[in-house]
Amino acid sequence: MTPNLFILALLVIGGAAAAMTLRNLIHCALALALSFLGLAGLFLHLNAQFVGFAQILVYVGAVSIVILFAILLTRGGDTQEPPLPKKGLLAGGLITVGVFAILSGGIGGSHLLPLVHPSPPAPSEPTVAEIGKVMMLSCVVPLLATGVLLTAALLGALLLALKEKQTEPPSRP
């Protein structure tokens, strides 16, 4: 494990753990943004420039901001949560370890692993142009479906926000 990978993994796991354990919702959201940033670093470490930058643009720049915005709009100034209950800590930890063991065992025993693990012969760095060709030619149906889905979501959000129809003149209380 190279030191770069170690630092990035620490950022991702540490950020995720902090997002779960910190007791101030704003801190949690910021820790999540840190974790996203580490994930983008992992993508860049794997020479996936496009995915890495898109991860920063979408997740660090937009998704975490939307989360923060939602917290502030719904909670006002009160973002402090009660401390974690001590009771279920042991059971939770055991379940976590169990799930991790099952998942890592499943991945480790997978017959797909030899395809990815033993140092592939350094594939050429995928250029943005190649990604664009794949997206526009062979994967055009999923791309269009995603576009339709996002448009529908946008229209739905607009409909939700549109309901302020004034039926009667507002009276001052």
Partner: protein, 395 residues
């Protein structure tokens, strides 16, 4: 001519050649970084003075004229003042977040400079996804106003932060969409190749993207959105001093305040640099008989011209209201950017080349864009019927 054009590149190569083999790559990187920080830091210092002088002239007064020749050393006095001022942190503040907020602004902005081609061969890294990298770095700065505003534990700063986030999220979409036509037509996301795509001349007209109908519309959209992204007047609601004291950095003093100031100006320069790269031909000379001047001269000349434009706008236009701001982004800029995208595709497949093709593009694309501009402004973004405004949470 060529030696003058490449003088900085040669200088760097000679400096690097002195060093032992092992540290040469690091020295090369260090020199790139040092050059960017030094040049744009100095430009920031000069522009603060120029802006105050320009605004002063617009408001029929002289501006700073006491420190140094004609007041041009004012920035040194301001910098020293910022350094020796007390750094105050409010008692209820989140100390860590309050501390890191200015750095979250300055560091990504400085990173964004690494993909700007400032002259022939003068780019720190030629990334394959350079434009995307620039926007990613720009998006990362959006966390900073929030951090500053929330961590200060002040209602003015929190309001400023909320305004800043809403504004930046809304205007980032037209900003990116205005840049997409250029990427579509040039077929690349690399900033260096984008500049190369604008080389050459049609007669005496430069082959820049701004000289096409979609390019002109994209440039105007991009500049409006860039003004909003860099929080400058008339989009300076997050720090509107008459409403919010100073918005999200109301609780900052001393050098942290100076860092916010620096970050905002550096962001403005960076996004102007990207506008130059995308639309104004990068470091290419505007006229064929002016190519004897070095390429970096043209980049910085265009940059200063855009900065002058920003100062002029700041001195001219009043601040928008919040609902006007949102309406403008979502009902005018966003549909126009999408229509511009369609027009770009149309222009790509219009028949004819040479000046006839250009004329046809201007006729078809220009008329569609003009109609869209008129229709959107006339019907979609005007308020129908004035009613009493009610504020759900403020009554």
């Amino acid at each position: 001519m060529d030696s003058l054009d490449q003088i900085f590149i040669r200088l760097k190569h000679q400096l690097v050649a002195f060093a032992p083999q092992a540290i040469q790559p690091f020295l090369s990187m260090l020199l790139n970084i040092a050059a960017i920080i030094a040049v744009f830091g100095l430009l920031f210092a000069l522009v603060t003075v120029l802006e105050r002088k320009g605004l002063g002239r617009i408001q029929n007064r002289r501006g700073p004229n006491r420190v140094g020749p004609a007041g041009f050393l004012q920035f040194a006095a301001d910098g020293i003042k910022a350094l020796i001022k007390e750094d105050i942190v409010p008692a209820g503040a989140d100390r860590l977040l309050h501390f890191i907020a200015p750095f979250v602004l300055v560091v990504p902005v400085l990173l964004a400079y690494s993909v700007l081609p400032m002259g022939r061969n003068m780019v720190a890294i030629d990334l394959d996804a350079g434009v995307l990298f620039f926007f990613a770095a720009g998006a990362a700065t959006e966390l900073s106003p929030f951090l500053a505003g929330w961590a200060s534990a002040n209602k003015y700063s929190l309001l400023g932060a909320l305004r800043a986030i809403a504004q930046m999220l809304s205007y980032e979409i037209p900003l990116v969409l205005a840049a997409v036509p250029v990427v579509m037509m040039a077929g690349t996301l690399s900033t260096v190749q984008l500049v190369d795509a604008q080389a050459g001349y049609w007669g005496w007209l430069p082959n820049w993207h701004v000289c096409t109908p979609w390019g002109l519309a994209g440039f105007i959209l991009f500049m409006i959105a860039a003004t909003a992204e860099s929080n400058r007047s008339p989009f300076d609601l997050p720090e509107g001093e008459s409403e919010l004291v100073a918005g999200y950095f109301v609780e900052y003093s001393g050098f942290k305040f100076a860092l916010f100031f620096l970050g905002e100006y550096l962001g403005m320069f960076a996004v102007s640099g990207l506008a130059i790269t995308l639309f104004l031909g990068g470091w290419h000379a505007p006229l064929p008989w002016l190519t004897f001047l070095p390429s970096w001269f043209w980049f910085f000349a265009k940059l200063l011209l855009l900065i002058a434009f920003f100062i002029w706008i700041r001195g001219t236009l009043p601040r928008l209201r919040m609902d006007q701001l949102m309406n403008f982004a979502w009902k005018f800029l966003l549909p126009l950017a999408l229509i511009n995208l369609v027009v770009t595709g149309l222009c790509r497949f219009l028949p004819g080349d040479g000046w006839k093709g250009g004329l046809l593009q201007w006729l078809v694309g220009g008329s569609i864009l003009l109609m869209a501009w008129w229709g959107l402004g006339r019907f979609l973004s005007t308020r129908r019927g004035w009613t009493k405004r009610t504020y759900r949470y403020a009554e």
